[in-house]
Amino acid sequence: MVSIQNLHKKFGPLKVLNGLELDIKEQGIIAVLGPNGSGKTTLIKSILGMVVPDKGEIIISGNNIKKRWNYRQEIDYLPQIANFPGNLKVQELITMIKDLRGKPAREQELIEYFRLQPFLDKKLNKLSGGTQQKVNLVLCFMFDSQLIILDEPTSGLDPVALLQLRKLIQQEKENGKTILITSHIMNFVEEVADRIVFLLEGKIYFDGTVEEIKTTTGQPDFEHAIAKLLSEDHV
């Protein structure tokens, strides 16, 4: 589905991605982990074509994405920080994005799911961070795309919404979607992820299941296993 070969990206003197190779064929949830500044967001933005890589190829569903834009029709993306134009109302924003995609959407169902009805007529800059994130989630999940990319989906959500989000992600997984997630909340990752991709210094440092991480590091606890992975120079 997604195949990334020898991806390089520099921001000035800073090498963010350094020959990254990644193949995603299967359906299910793939978590991209790594310390701050390890290139998670850059990787995701490269897949979306928002960052232009210096070298390397990204192939999505058999097409090289360089200088193309149509493939984004098949990707749902949740940005890390909900940066919305503040002078739009929630309803206007949803309608606009629907117009842009020209696809059937299930926004009504999601608005009810996240209890956003009272906010539909409010302007986006008047909403709290958590509510903005919920709008963000609605915008992301309302189209039925095969590939879903979530960059820090948990940020700013209250426990109830977090549970709802977890349920939603599981549901999408059962529908046979491929979901790419980055997160810093380890027990969230441990619970949902089928495969862990651990980035360090712009390369893939570890690639496997949660169980595999635990056995290679010899740690029974996922959080400690990740910490051990970071502190040691093995694999």
Partner: protein, 214 residues
């Protein structure tokens, strides 16, 4: 007239820069959607430039029309003023978008944009004048023709001056200018130059947008 020639570019510059920085969030939102990059930015550019042009046409047109413009013989001069005003709006908002795109820092971008306006509106003329004074022993008519071609504000000013038939005030140089700009070829060349001034920044805009990271 001079007011228009100075103020229209200033407004185009400031609105162009301001709009670009203000809609950054919006741009980021759109970039993740299945929309072509160049259509996002060209769309934003034309959105700004066309609305500024409309406000210029309406803002100048309505009072003049109320004043009885359509019956007066000055209508062609006035049309010329509007056309150059339109070009100036297009040129300077395109330049402003270029500057804003190349500068992440808002204050820097603003500074450069205003500096550009100041340069083309005032400083360029100053340097031009200095040249003319220093090299007054040489024949300068060719040079001054060329030099005024390279500044859209000067070019517009001359186009309007010649239309107004006050070029007699400019003595010998005026005659040379009239000889060049007054002919259909000259008018065509200068309008062509203005078009080039619109196309070049837009071309750069398109190129930079294709490579930029967001």
């Amino acid at each position: 007239m001079n007011v228009i020639i100075m103020i229209v570019p200033l407004i185009g510059t400031i609105f162009g820069v301001m709009y670009y920085y203000n809609s950054r969030e919006f741009t980021q939102l759109l970039l993740a959607q299945p929309v072509k990059r160049s259509s996002i930015f060209l769309g934003q550019y034309f959105g700004v430039a066309i609305s500024l042009s409309l406000s210029l046409i309406l803002g100048l047109g309505i009072p003049f029309a109320a004043y009885g413009l359509f019956k007066s013989p000055a209508i062609w001069d006035f049309t010329m003023l509007l056309i150059t005003g339109l070009f100036l709006t297009l040129i300077f908002s395109a330049l402003a978008f270029n500057i804003a795109l190349s500068n992440e820092n808002k204050i820097k971008g603003f500074g450069y944009a205003i500096l550009l306006w100041l340069f083309l509106a005032v400083i360029y003329d100053g340097i031009f004048l200095l040249f003319l004074v220093y090299f007054q022993d040489y024949p300068l008519d060719k040079f001054s023709l060329a030099a005024s071609m390279f500044n859209p504000i000067d070019l517009s000013r001359i186009l309007i001056l010649l239309k107004l038939d006050i070029s007699a005030l400019l003595s010998y140089t005026g005659a040379v200018f009239k000889q060049f700009f007054g002919t259909p070829l000259g008018t065509l060349a200068s309008i062509g130059m203005l078009v080039v001034w619109v196309i070049l920044p837009l071309y750069r805009l398109k190129k930079v947008v294709g490579k930029k990271d967001f």
